[in-house]
Amino acid sequence: MNFDLRLPIGILFSLFGLILVCFGFLTKGSDIYAKSLGHNINLEWGAVLLVFGAFMLFLAKRGKGA
């Protein structure tokens, strides 16, 4: 089957990452982060998801080239 799952995984987590990072920027210093012990967790975890998503996209692209 010529279907590479890494592509949709990459798309999904890149989008999640983008949404959270943008939202994190907009809410910098907001008191909603009292819950998460003062960490802007949207920004931080959003960045993690973005990296994971981009890595999956990279693997999918490399797989296609091979």
């Binding site: 279907f3 999904l12 989008l15 909603i32 998460s36």
Partner: protein
């Protein structure tokens, strides 16, 4: 088995819609909805993309054996990752502490490795398209029928139970309308399963696996930070809950531990009978391995699944322990929520931690992960159901020798019907008290002896169809009687009696220290009886299958698989051995 066991816990968490309508636990904002919407679009999108690969009934029901091994491996794990795993195991983490890890390091892992090394060759190598069909090839029609019908009923019922739990949970947390949640979540599952069939379910299960890990990991990270790391958590658990919450083995010598069961009952009952019965014979999980590209990949599937499975307690059990520690922490303002009955409802551990720690944004991600776990479980059930229905029930008893396009139509019809029946079960679960406890009980009776049948079938060529069928029946009846005469509390503490769903409905003859101990011993007794009776009847009856017919189905009559030319890291026996060793080390470290 583990599957079914926790479903009723969940159904208990699913509070009736009429109960205490007061505050909403969680408020969602547009960013949270955006995340949920992206998720739904992507999973449904996968279904639509995969549609073009579905050309025959076997593409739809068995994926045409074409899926890469890392995908089947993660799906093998993820099909079982329904709500019972995420919510039920966190609840157990809060109830039993580290001992909950026995479900993984004693229960699941050895069984998964055994399946990979010893049993997969017969499932994949035979011409069987399902687990019941293996029984038909190995034994006879009636053994297959018994297994197929009980499996079909069980899968739609548990799918319905988890659907109910999801809708009730969303109602409780977000005040979403019960009917709305029910319809929307089943519509999403229906959309992608109907388009892409088993492939769709498998691929989305893997996506859901990553979502569950990445959605819940932040909860564990923040929680541990808050409580002063692992050591801080252990200290506070020792102080508030007692030292037995921080050891998995140290207090297993007697029943004086949170699970109320001693080591022998746990190792033999949970580790051997129940876990092997579930992981090695339940078509829901075995189906994932059967969709792999080759025999080697089919055998590597459970092993690849076992690696993350070993580490999963971090994501699913640790939150329960964190909740205990957090509730005891001065000034945290947190407590594990109460259920309708007014008692602590451990099933609300995960949702309440999400509400406590995560701000809007991350909240959407975690809730999406929670919904993904329900959908993944449901899609797994539905795809197992439509295959067993189409091949083992419809094609065998109702519509023999029809065209492929007819079976394809039937498979799609079964998919829709399976989801509709699940919805029906969800409403039954909502309206009839104890119905899920009752079903769980019946499934337990059917499941307890089943591994004996498969073990004898695969490793003893003299086992006959009559032996298998009546052995299974005897094991089930024995389980029923055992339940009827045993009590989950010691006899001198029964007092006014216990509800019949918990046992002793034939009069209590002996009592255990917990319902878990009762359950494990019930499994041990039913398994042993099934084992003995199957042997006795087999010896007394004539063989119906010749040696030639059993080639590829029985160990002694099948050529051993040669793997000498495979690199070491690809050999199931080698990798499986390493995984077992790591599991052993984990047991020792957290003893």
């Amino acid at each position: 088995m583990i599957d079914i066991q926790s479903i009723s816990l969940l159904a208990a968490a699913g509070l009736p819609a009429s109960s205490g309508e007061s505050t909403t636990l969680i408020n969602l904002h547009s960013v949270d909805y955006a995340i949920l919407a992206v998720y739904i679009l992507v999973v449904v999108g996968i279904g639509f993309v995969l549609k073009k690969y579905v050309k025959s009934a076997s593409d739809f029901l068995t994926s045409g054996r074409s899926i890469p091994v890392w995908v089947t491996g993660l799906a093998f794990l993820s099909a079982n990752l329904g709500a019972q795993e995420v919510i039920g195991m966190a609840a157990s983490g809060a109830k039993y502490g580290i001992m909950t890890a026995h479900f993984y390091w004693v229960g699941a892992i050895p069984a998964m490795i055994f399946l990979a090394i010893f049993m997969m060759p017969f499932y994949y190598g035979s011409r069987a398209r399902s687990v019941p069909e293996y029984l038909k090839l190995r034994f006879d029609e009636k053994t297959r029928g018994l297994n197929a019908i009980s499996f079909a009923v069980m899968t739609v019922a548990s799918s319905g139970a988890s659907l109910h739990a999801l809708a009730a949970l969303l109602h409780l947390l977000l005040k979403w309308d019960y009917n709305f949640s029910l319809i929307v979540s089943s519509a999403v599952v229906l959309a992608y399963v109907l388009k892409g069939g088993l492939s769709s379910a498998i691929y989305t299960e893997v996506l859901q696996f990553f979502l569950i890990v990445l959605g819940f990991a932040p909860l564990v990270i923040i929680g541990l930070n808050d409580l002063g790391g692992w050591n801080g958590l252990m200290q506070s658990l020792t102080k508030v809950s007692g030292p037995e919450f921080t050891h998995s083995w140290k207090y297993m010598g007697t029943t004086a531990n949170p699970m109320g069961v001693e080591w022998f009952g746990m190792v033999f009952g949970l580790g051997f009978v129940l876990s092997f019965g579930y992981w090695c014979t339940d078509f829901l999980v075995v189906q994932r391995a059967m969709a792999a590209k080759s025999m080697g990949d089919a055998r590597r599937t459970p092993i690849i699944g076992a690696i993350p499975k070993m580490l999963f307690p971090v994501i699913v059990i640790l939150p329960g322990m964190i909740a205990l520690g957090l509730a005891a922490k001065a000034g945290s303002g947190y407590s594990i929520p109460l259920g309708v009955s007014g008692a602590t409802d451990y099933n609300l551990v995960i949702p309440s931690l999400i509400a406590h720690y995560l701000p809007t944004g991350m909240l959407g991600l975690a809730l999406t992960a929670l919904m993904a776990s329900f959908m993944s479980g449901m899609a797994g059930n539905v795809t197992a159901f439509n295959t067993v229905w189409t091949y083992d029930i419809y094609q065998s008893y109702i519509g023999k020798g029809k065209s492929d396009s007819h079976y394809m139509w039937m498979a799609k019809f079964a998919t829709v019907a399976g989801i509709l029946i699940s919805i029906g079960f969800a409403y039954v679960a909502k309206n009839v008290d104890n119905i899920m406890d009752f079903l769980q009980l019946v499934f337990g009776f059917v499941n307890a002896p089943v591994f004996a049948t498969f073990l004898l079938g695969m490793f003893w060529k003299r086992a006959t169809g009559h032996g298998a069928f009546y052995g299974l029946l005897a094991g089930t009846i024995c389980a029923m009687i055992f339940h009827g005469i045993s009590s989950p509390v010691p006899l001198d503490k029964i007092g006014d009696g216990i509800p019949w769903v918990q046992g002793a409905w034939l009069g209590a003859k002996f009592g255990f220290t917990s319902s878990m101990a009762q359950n494990f011993w019930l499994a041990i007794v039913a398994w042993t009886l099934c084992f003995v009776i199957t042997i006795a009847i087999s010896l007394a009856t004539r063989r119906t299958k010749t040696d030639t017919e059993l080639v590829g189905l029985v160990y002694s009559l099948t050529d051993k698989i040669k793997e000498d030319d495979e690199p070491l890291w690809k050999r199931p026996a080698v990798v499986g051995g390493v995984v077992l060793l790591v599991a052993l080390i984990l047991n020792i470290v957290f003893r």
